[in-house]
């Protein structure tokens, strides 16, 4: 997900402008010169300035130097075959997507079944064989449930599969 500095810089300018505008709409405190509107406006203006500088490429030389420095000091494993960018994007977005899915169905399905699905999906997506992924998906959620519900008293949803403890 490399995005050019021009685009991220412009996006920051837009965000800064929105923050400044949004801040200016906030109601002032009666009888005070400064209120909740000042800080977002200051931050917004700062973001606009930084965004503009990034879009114009100021400081990017330093970044290249730092990257070269880091590359000289440690190894990066290069993939043997390059998968398609679409598959890569899907894999990358899998963990946050699964967490969001937990938010929506966790209460109904219960912690252990949902966690089973999460662990199984990520493990398989990372290239684990079923022989490893399945036992992991069966054991890990139960252990996490035991620790968090019993020892840390976190109210995890029982759902369809309540645990005996």
């Amino acid at each position: 997900m490399f995005i050019s500095d021009k685009i991220t810089g412009t996006a920051l300018v837009a965000l800064g402008a929105a923050a400044t505008y949004g801040g200016s709409l906030l109601p002032p405190v009666p009888g005070q010169q400064v209120g909740p509107n000042v800080f977002p406006m200051v931050v917004g203006v700062g973001l606009m300035l930084c965004g503009a500088m990034i879009a114009f490429g100021i400081g990017s030389v330093l970044e290249q130097e730092a990257e070269a420095d880091l590359a000289a000091h440690s190894d990066k494993v290069e993939p043997a075959t390059k998968p398609s960018p679409l598959v890569n994007a899907a894999k990358t977005l899998l963990p946050p997507a699964l967490l969001l899915a937990y938010v929506f169905v966790g209460d109904r399905l219960g912690f252990v079944p949902t966690a089973f699905a999460i662990v199984l999906a990520i493990s398989l997506a990372m290239g684990a064989r079923l022989k490893l992924a399945l036992p992991l998906a069966l054991i890990a959620p139960v252990l996490v449930h035991l620790i968090f519900l019993k020892l840390l008293r976190v109210p995890l949803p029982p759902g369809l599969l309540p645990m005996p403890w």
Binding site: I3, V29, P40, C50, P96, L120, S123, A133
Partner: protein
């Protein structure tokens, strides 16, 4: 004094505290040694556990886990040339060169021995520096606190080995995130877009877990598995350490001092300490040409430095509630939760707790040596665990752990959102640590800024007229302007080179 010290020992020697130290140490060693899982992440995932511990045990887990993780990040660096935590990246090359020369024991021995010494000296600096600074801090008003917090934010942007403009932009993004909610001087809902979940603002811990842990898992999803570590038998790890300690006194002193100074600076942490110390060691060495070929000097200096910075990072955290690095940013949250609110009065009202904290630091750094040696011997077994079995569990812990900090499903949404934000930022060279510190300190900066402005009737003169405020203002503005100066200098140098070539 003696009574307080005895009380402190009584607090630390309680069975639950000792057990917490031991378990947290093992946890920190394991997590730190896994490439990609940083010390910050190890600490963040511990937070829900600290809810159910006594205040001292809670702080002890954080201290022990973070110290161990910073050391054990050196292990995969030595053996695989892949740093376990970013704080080890500076000298990974050097350590690996030693392993290639057939001296992995020496490299790992240096890492554990000098890490422990650095940690202890860092603790001594914390003991020595905190009380006099606390005395001074009692006279601070909102003007000084504003500059101090602002200075912390600027230091956070200097840490990054990245484009300083992008670092400042990240920090401002963090400040903007901290604006969300009703926790502002007038209690007006800001940027909540009518959502009740956003009224309370963005919680720091889930955001932190998102950018440090979930984003890391996302990165790992597409990256190939790191190479397996060759099984090897290690000889004596500590052999020759005493000789090296006597042979290189100056690198150690310098490393510890640099580490302490960088740690005390609000916002700058262990990674920066290691980079600065390594390059300093090279510059002052009598044999700079040996660097990079498996020479112990730089390793000693940088290895001591990053652990020293860890302890002294607690100075601004305990005194002002301004995090010294991302790890203490988490620790501050835990301190508030446990009723140990940071501030100068902590050192007078809760002196025994502070002494207990020092003792825990020292214990953690002492047991680092035996536990570290066990860890080194077990490392090749542990590191051969496939990533596909670790990452799913981390995702699970990210979700459940964040949920546990407030029993609210919106916290899991926060983790997911910040995971994506963190991933995109990191890929494009925006340092996430600066954003996290922005989120943590935003409310404090704003409160002190607005209160000061109200006190001064809108005039900015008092921000500069008080002596301490003026000094802090000078440093802050210097930190703000240095990227511009550096850029101008770099441009001038380059045009000169081009002119000479032309």
């Amino acid at each position: 004094m003696l009574a307080t010290l005895l009380e402190a020992f009584r607090l630390v020697l309680a069975p639950d505290v000792l057990l917490a130290i031991l378990l947290a140490s093992i946890y920190g060693l394991v997590v730190g040694s896994l490439p990609g899982l940083s010390a910050t992440m190890a600490t963040a995932l511990l937070v829900p556990v600290t809810f159910y511990l006594s205040p001292i045990a809670a702080v002890a887990t954080i201290i022990a886990a973070s110290a161990m993780a910073i050391f054990s990040g050196d292990i995969p660096g030595c053996l695989l040339r892949i740093p376990g935590t970013p704080a080890s990246a500076a000298y990974t090359d050097e350590a690996y060169a030693m392993t290639r020369k057939g001296e992995p024991e020496l490299a790992l021995g240096i890492c554990v021995w000098f890490s422990a010494i650095g940690g202890i000296i860092g603790t001594l600096s914390l003991i020595a520096l905190a009380p006099p600074l606390a005395e001074m801090a009692l006279n601070f008003s909102t003007f000084e606190y504003f500059w101090l917090a602002f200075l912390g934010l600027m230091c956070a942007t200097m840490v990054a080995r990245a484009n300083p403009v992008k670092a400042i932009a990240s920090m401002l993004l963090g400040l903007l995130v901290s604006c969300i909610g009703i926790e502002n001087p007038a209690g007006t809902p800001r940027f909540t877009f009518g959502s009740t979940d956003l009224l309370g603002g963005i919680e720091v811990i889930p955001a932190l877990v998102g950018v440090f842990a979930l984003a890391e898992v996302m990165r790992n999803m597409t990256e190939p598995e790191p190479p397996k570590m060759p099984r090897r038998k290690f000889g004596s790890i500590l052999k020759g350490m005493w000789k090296l300690t006597r042979e290189y006194p100056w690198p150690q002193v310098r490393g510890n001092i640099v580490g302490i100074i960088i740690g005390v600076l609000p916002g700058a942490g262990a990674d920066m300490a290691a980079w600065v110390s390594y390059s300093m060691s090279k510059r002052f060495s009598r044999t700079p040409e040996k660097f990079g070929t498996g020479h112990p000097e730089g390793l000693i200096e940088a290895g001591a430095s990053n652990n020293a910075s860890l302890a002294s990072g607690w100075v601004p955290s305990l005194l002002f509630g301004i995090p010294g690095d991302t790890i203490t940013a988490i620790a501050i949250g835990v301190l508030y939760m446990k009723g140990l609110n940071p501030g100068p009065s902590l050192f007078t009202d809760r002196a025994s707790s502070m002494y207990a904290l020092y003792i825990i630091f020292i214990i953690a750094n002492i047991i680092m040596i035996p536990l570290g040696i066990v860890m080194i011997r077990m490392a090749s077994k542990l590191l051969s665990a496939p990533r596909a079995s670790i990452m799913p569990v981390i995702v699970l812990l990210c979700g459940v752990g964040s949920f546990a900090t407030g029993n609210n499903l919106f916290l899991i949404v926060t983790v997911a959102a910040f995971g994506v934000i963190g991933f995109v930022m990191e890929r494009n060279g925006y340092p996430v640590a600066a954003m996290v510190l922005g989120i943590v300190m935003g409310t404090m900066v704003e409160q002190n800024f607005i209160t000061s402005l109200i006190k001064s009737d809108g005039s900015i003169w008092p921000f500069f007229s008080r002596p301490v405020a003026a000094i802090l203002a000078f440093f802050t503005i210097a930190a703000l302007l240095w990227p511009v100066a550096y850029w101008l200098w770099g441009t001038m140098r380059r045009t000169k080179v081009v002119a000479q070539r032309g």
